[in-house]
Each structure stands twice: as C-alpha cells, then as structure tokens.
C-alpha cells in the first residue's frame, strides 16, 4: 500500500493579497498591457508565475520567465521583487525541474535578502517553509519538522501550510493520530479562510491518514470532498496526489474499479511521468489493485515498475548526495585554485628572490672584476711611473759619466799641450770630440747594439792608450756565437770598469800592461769581462767600501735599477787576482736581442 501525503507548497506571496487568487487569464491580460518596467510589473510577474506554477507545477518554461523577472527586478533595484523572484526560481527548480539542490540555493539567496532588510523580514517564514518542503521531499522528516515549526513561530499566514505539512510529516512517520490532529487543524484553518487549495490538499492527505487508521468511510468522504474542490477550482497542483490517494482509499474500500481508474488517471496526468514519487505510489497502488483483482501478471508488472521507481527514488536521493559532492567538489576546486595561486605566488616570489640573488651575485662579480681590472690598471700605471722614475734615474747616472770622463780627457789634452805635441793634441782632440758625441748620443738611449758599444769602447781604448803613450795594450774578443748587431746592451756599462783598469791598474804599473775585454754567451746570459794585469787594488781601498771607486758604484747602481726594472739578475763581480796582481771584473747580463 502506498499513498501520498503531498506537501502543501508554502510560498510567500507578495503584498497583502493573501491567498485570494486572481484568475490566470486576468493576470495574463494585465501583463500583456504592461509596457513600463517598474516594481508593479515585477510584482505582477511574480504573481503570475506563482499562479502558473500552482496550476501546472511541471511547466519548465517558467524557468526563463522567472529568470527574466529576476533580471528586471535587479535592473530597477527592487529588493522585494528580487527576493520573490529568487523564491519563485527556487520553486521552479524544486517543482518543475525536480532539482532541490538548485532550489535550495535560490531559497538561500532569497533568505539573505529577507534577513538583510527589516521590511522584508515577513518573507522569512515563507522561505523557511520552502526549505522545509525540500527536506520533506528528501524524506528528511526531522529537519523538515524543525523548519515547519520555525514557520509556526512566526505567527503568520503561513501557519496553515506549516500545520498541514507537519500533519503530512506525522503521516509519513506513521504517527497517524498526530497526523490526523494537525491535518484537521489545517483543514479548519483552510475552511475559515476559504483557501481551497489547502483545503483540497489537507483533505487529500487526511483521507490517506484515515486509510491508515482503518477509517475507510471517513477516508472516502474526505477524498471525495477533495476531488470535488479540485474539479471546482481547477487545482491541478493537488490533482495527481488526490487521484493516487483516491485509488488508495477505494482500494481500502474494495472498490477496485474506482481504485484502478484513479491510479491509471494519476499516471496519465501531465508531468506524472517525470515525478518518481507519483509513479512509485501509483504503481504500488495498481499492483495492489491488480492483486486484489487476481490479475497477477499485471500485478507483477506493476510491482516491477514500482520497484524500478524505488531505485529511481533512491537515486534521486543519491542526486542530493551528488549535489553535495558537487558542492564539495566546487569547494575543493576553489581550494585547489587558491592553492595553485598560492603556489604561483610562491613561485613568483622564489623566482624574484632567485633573480634578485643572481643579479646581486652578478653585480658583486661585476664589481670584483671591475675592481680587479682597475687594480691592474692602477698597478700598470704604478709600474709605468716607477719605470719612468727608474729611466730618469738611469739617465741621470749615464749623464754622470760625462763630467767624469770629460775631465779625465781634458787632463790628457793638457798633458799633450804641456809636452808641445800639437799634432797629437789635435788628433787626440778630434777623437775626444767623437767620443763626446757618441757619449751624448748614447746617454739618451736605454740600450744600444753591442756593435755600437764596441765601437765606442774601441775608440775609448784607443784614445786612452794614446794618452798613456802605449803603456798598455788591449784586446777585445767577442764570442762568435754573439750577433753584435742584434744584441742589445745598456750603453757604456763597461766603460767605468775599463777606466778603473787603465787608471788604477795601468797608470801605476811599472812596464807595459794588458787589458783583455771579452764577451761570451752562456745560455741566455751575456758575460762581459775586463781582465787586467795591473797593480790591482790597494788592500786598504778594498777594505773601505766607502772609498770604492766612483765608476764601480755607478755601474752597480745601474745594474740594480736594470734588475729591478726588468726583473732580471744582472751581476757585477770583482776579483782581485793574487798572482801577478790585477783585477778581473765580470758583468753578467741577461742576453737581450733586438729582433
């Protein structure tokens, strides 16, 4: 046995029109006349929609109409209209489209509006009632009961619907006495207010409760009054439920013909095919009817259909679950998006940090490189400056040769004149002039070819030998391995050494002496030596370093600067020979080639 305790739709109705129903036709006519978009239009549209929904709850085209109303209300910022439009949309989703999840969303939007403004507070009861309806439909009776009781607390015109629904819930919970009590109260309220829809609905539900209570006669009376009201006022909204309940009532009263007819008619109703609850109830009743008629094959068929809808209904419940999951999914998606955004931000931040770090490192490296480069430049400039200083010093030292040599030579010329040897004096003078010229030219140069230096040396020896009346002989040997044109030497480096040999070794010597000058090559070193067999240095001269000859100190100073300047190891060695006296001096220079 399966009957329907159809819930009574609670919907807030704008203005104080109450439940006075205006015929759809007149509403439609009013709508058609309206060409001004204002609050009245919105009210009219909301009323029209409600009426259409009550007349035909399965009309899906109403969705577009409801959305349009919402748009209009939003456009003219009409809060009450918007609220009602949301509510109507909820109704459309709940009843016409069978989507309680979306319906719940719209009711919640409507509820938010209702709570936000005091003037709209009165609409809260209706919306709460609608939410209760959804729970009722989902057979969550505990929750539904709570919502309907909240509606009753409002003390308003929703009392009737809420009372009826509470009765229905008790009926579904098989608490038939309580169900009968609330339904009877609702019916009497409906009678007082001449609310035929609710009256028909209440009677319809009550008939089923009576069936459950075994009061078949009362049940039949109630359903008949309900059916009469439905026919009289064209209440399509309750018709299907009433037919199914009628089938149940007649089945209980064993009027199988009527029972079958009402059950079949219920299935033929518009939208019945879309309503699982209706089909389930109809097929269950038909199965019982066929069984009572002993039409077992049809009964089985009907039962199978019923069973299928049992599944379908479960799946409908599942849809709610799915919707909940959808909701959760949406939330997760939002969360994932948010996390992705957070990750993106983190990545950007990390990338910025990394980029900044890299830039910083590049900057530091750049600075280091720049500094190093600058240091190199500074060092180079420093080195160049030092070289310049050294060059100047060397030039000064080379220039010092001149006066030293000049006055010695002038002494010689003086000697000739004293001896009245004019020709010799003249020859000597021209050679001295030549030497002076070369000295001047050489002083200006850092290095000259060995060939040029040899030329100078030879001239110098020639001049000095002549001056000392051939008191000494000399020989210059150059290693064949040395290319004198391509070998560079500091100009006149040996001159002071030769001078020492002549002045200290030869001048004081008894008899003829000999000076041997040699240039050798040992690897990358040029060895220049001046070897004499003169009297040698006096012991006291050697002991007193400060009395070292001017020439020697000059040569040592030049070597020291050259060593520092070219980072080489030039050296001067003086060896006092014991056998036969004499001094052997040797200068070692790194071999330097011009090309």
């Amino acid at each position: 046995m399966k009957g329907l305790l159809s819930l009574v739709v609670i919907c807030s109705i704008g203005s104080m029109e109450g439940y006075i129903q205006r015929p759809l036709d007149s509403l439609h006519a009013d709508l058609a006349r309206r060409d001004v978009i204002d609050t009245a239009l919105v009210d009219l549209r909301n009323d029209y929609l409600r009426q259409r929904l009550l007349a035909n709850p399965t009309d899906t085209i109403l969705l577009a109409f409801a959305n349009e109303t919402l748009e209009i209300a939003g456009a003219i910022r009409y809060a009450r209209g918007t609220l009602l439009a949301y509510e109507r949309l909820g109704l459309v989703y709940q009843y016409a489209l069978g989507d309680p999840y979306r319906a719940l969303e719209y009711y919640q939007q409507a509820m938010q509006l209702a709570e936000s403004e005091d003037v709209l507070a009165s609409y809260q009861a209706g919306i709460i009632g609608n939410i209760g309806n959804i729970y009722y439909e989902q057979e969550e009776y505990g929750k539904a009961l709570n919502y309907f009781r909240r509606v009753l607390a409002f003390q308003n015109d929703m009392e009737l619907a809420a009372t009826a629904n509470i009765g229905n819930i008790y009926g579904n919970l098989q608490q038939n006495d309580s169900a009968a009590y609330y339904l009877k109260r609702a019916i009497s309220l409906a009678r007082e207010t001449s609310n035929w829809v609710f009256l028909a609905n209440g009677l319809c539900s009550l008939s089923l409760v009576y069936v459950h209570l075994g009061e078949t006669h009362a049940a039949q009376e109630a359903i008949e009054e309900s059916l009469a009201l439905i026919e009289q006022h064209q209440i399509g909204f309750v018709r299907t439920t009433a037919y199914i309940n009628a089938a149940m009532v007649y089945l209980a009263g064993h009027d199988l013909v009527h029972a079958e007819r009402f059950a079949s008619d219920a299935l033929k109703m518009d939208g019945a095919l879309n309503n699982a609850t209706v089909q389930k109830a109809a097929w269950a009743t038909l199965a019982d009817v066929y069984a009572a008629q002993h039409r077992y094959k049809d009964a089985l068929e009907a039962y199978k259909r019923y069973d299928a809808f049992q599944d379908s209904l479960t799946s409908q419940n599942r849809r709610v679950e799915i919707n909940r999951r959808q909701l959760q999914y949406d939330f997760e998606k939002q969360k994932a998006l948010a996390q992705a955004e957070i990750r993106r931000q983190t990545t950007i931040r990390n990338a910025s940090l990394l980029g900044g770090g890299v830039l910083l490192v590049i900057g530091i490296l750049g600075f280091i490189l720049y500094k190093r480069r600058r240091d190199i430049v500074v060092q180079k400039q420093d080195a160049e400056f030092k070289a310049l200083v050294a060059d100047t010093e060397l030039k000064a030292l080379r220039a010092q040769l001149n006066p030293h040599f000049i006055f010695n030579s002038l002494n010689s010329i003086s000697d000739y004149i004293a001896k009245s040897d004019i020709e010799s004096a003249q020859e000597y003078l021209t050679q001295f002039a030549q030497l002076m010229r070369q000295t001047l030219e050489n002083s200006d140069r850092k290095e000259i070819s060995l060939a040029a230096d040899l030329l100078f040396m030879e001239l110098y020896l020639k001049v000095e030998a002549k001056r000392l009346s051939d008191k000494f002989s000399y020989r210059i040997d150059v290693d064949e391995a040395i290319d004198i044109d391509n070998t560079l030497v500091p100009p006149m480096l040996l001159q002071p050494l030769i001078e020492n040999s002549i002045w200290h070794g030869m001048a004081r010597k008894e008899g003829k002496g000999h000076i041997h000058i040699a240039f050798r090559k040992a690897g990358e070193t040029l060895i220049c030596s001046v070897d004499d067999d003169g009297v040698g240095r006096r012991t006291e001269d050697v002991a007193k370093a400060s009395k070292r000859s001017f020439g020697l100190r000059l040569t040592e100073a030049r070597l020291a600067i050259l060593n520092k300047q070219k980072n080489v190891q030039g050296r001067l060695d003086i060896i006092d020979k014991t056998e036969g006296g004499g001094v052997f001096t040797e200068v070692r220079l790194p071999l330097q080639l011009a090309f």
């Binding site: 003249q426 021209t430 050679q431 002039a433 010229r437 090309f595």
Partner: protein
C-alpha cells in the same frame, strides 16, 4: 786647380779648415773666407768657387740656409760644417748632402775631399739643396728624402714610403705608388733617419711606415698587412713595443 771658400763666423774654425786644406794646396786654392750671410752671398757670387765649406750657424746674421735661399742656383761642391746640431745633421742626411763635424777629424776631411775629387759632387746639387730647403721650410710638410742611386739621386716623399727591406748592405725601399728603390745603405741608416716619422723597425729586415698598417694578425710575434697588400712578419721581441706604438698613433 779648384777654388774654395770658407763661410764661418768663428776665426779659429776658419784657421782649422785652413790648416786642413794645407796638404791639398796643389789642387785646391782658398779664394775667400766670409763670416756673414750677406758676405757669403756676395762672395760666392763674385768668386764663383768650386768648393764651399759652410758653417750652419752664422752668428746673428743668419744661417747657411739663408745663404742658400739667397743664392738660388747652386753650382759648386757644398760641404757643411757644424759642431753639434742634430737637427741640421738630420736635414743633411735627408737631402743626401755632405757635412763635417767640428772639430774636424783629419780622416773625415780626407774622405770628404776624396768625394769631391772622385765623384762629381755637383751632381743634382741644386735639386738636393732645394729638397733641403724645402724640408726645412715647414714642420708639417712631407719630408723629401734623397736616395743615391746608380745614376744620381732620387727624391721620395717620406710619407710615400710604405716599408724598407734590408738586403745585407743594401736597402730596398717600397713606395705606395709601387715604386721600388735599392740604395747602398744599411737598414739601420734608414731606421735612424726615419725613426721620427712614424716608422718602426718590426723585424731585423723590415722597417715599416705605421701609417700604412691596415691589419695586424696575431701570432707569436704576429704579422702586419700593409696598404700595398704586403704581409710582413713582426719579430716576437718587437711585438709589445710595436703594438704600443701602433696604439699611440
């Protein structure tokens, strides 16, 4: 018999030359000595000497070049005498003119006299003197260099010389116009002569004009490509100095 004049503003220098000429009295006759520019111009005009010994500095009256400018044509053997004047000496060498340094060595004097007797020292003398005066007239002007060749003297603008190549005691000189001169002087002579004019010795055998370097090819010493397409090796020991000079240019 050749007539000689001495142009010098210092008496002892005149005496010195007079003494040096004594051994040549059979062939050379001293016909006059002059101490100023005016005297010299006048004297040379009237005496028409074969040999002129000419000091560069003629006191406050001017220089030997003033005398030469005033004379115009030069039809005698010209031997400059100077004590120490690097600038003048350089000019003489450019113009391939003979000069003696004071105090004059007997040997140098003998050599100069031999050149007068053996060779016709007058050959192209006017051209050489003109080159000398031209070279001395302005610092910015391209210098003309006199090159003694088998049949006289050739004059080339120093700025036209691309490079010089050593060939034992000869030097080949290549100009931008493709001309080649072979002179019996060492590369060292030209290195000393041209060192002050953007020339650089890149190699034992090569003296190049830095103005004609079009490319430097890196290497141990590397190589230079000159404007006339010639590629010459740079001695590794000359590389650093060469690059420094090239940068300085």
């Amino acid at each position: 018999m050749m007539d000689a004049v001495i142009i010098d503003d210092e008496e002892h220098c005149v005496a010195s030359l007079r003494r040096l000429l004594l051994p040549y009295q059979d062939s050379v006759r001293l016909v006059g000595t002059f101490a100023t520019v005016d005297e010299a111009v006048m004297g040379i005009g009237t005496r028409q000497p074969d040999i002129v010994f000419m000091d560069v500095q003629l006191g406050e009256s001017g220089t030997a070049f003033d005398v030469l400018n005033a004379l115009g044509a030069v039809a005698f053997n010209l031997i400059f005498t100077t004590a120490y004047d690097q600038y003048a000496v350089q000019a003489f060498r450019f113009a391939a003119l003979d000069y003696l340094l004071k105090p004059i060595a007997v040997g140098d004097f003998a050599n100069a006299m031999n050149r007068v007797f053996q060779r016709n020292e007058q050959q192209q003398l006017s051209v050489r003197v003109a080159a000398l005066l031209d070279n001395l007239s302005g610092a910015d002007k391209p210098k003309k260099m006199g090159l003694p060749t088998a049949d006289g003297y050739e004059f080339v603008d120093v700025s036209e010389v691309v490079h010089c190549r050593s060939d034992v005691n000869y030097t080949h000189i290549f100009t931008v116009s493709g001309q080649k001169y072979t002179v019996s002087k060492t590369l060292k002579h030209f290195e000393e002569l041209l060192g002050g004019y953007h020339f650089f010795r890149i190699h034992h055998s090569h003296l190049i004009n830095l103005d004609y370097v079009v490319k430097y090819v890196r290497g141990k010493g590397g190589a230079v490509v000159l404007a006339n397409g010639v590629t010459l090796e740079v001695s590794s020991r000359r590389k650093d100095e060469f690059l420094a000079r090239l940068k300085m240019k």
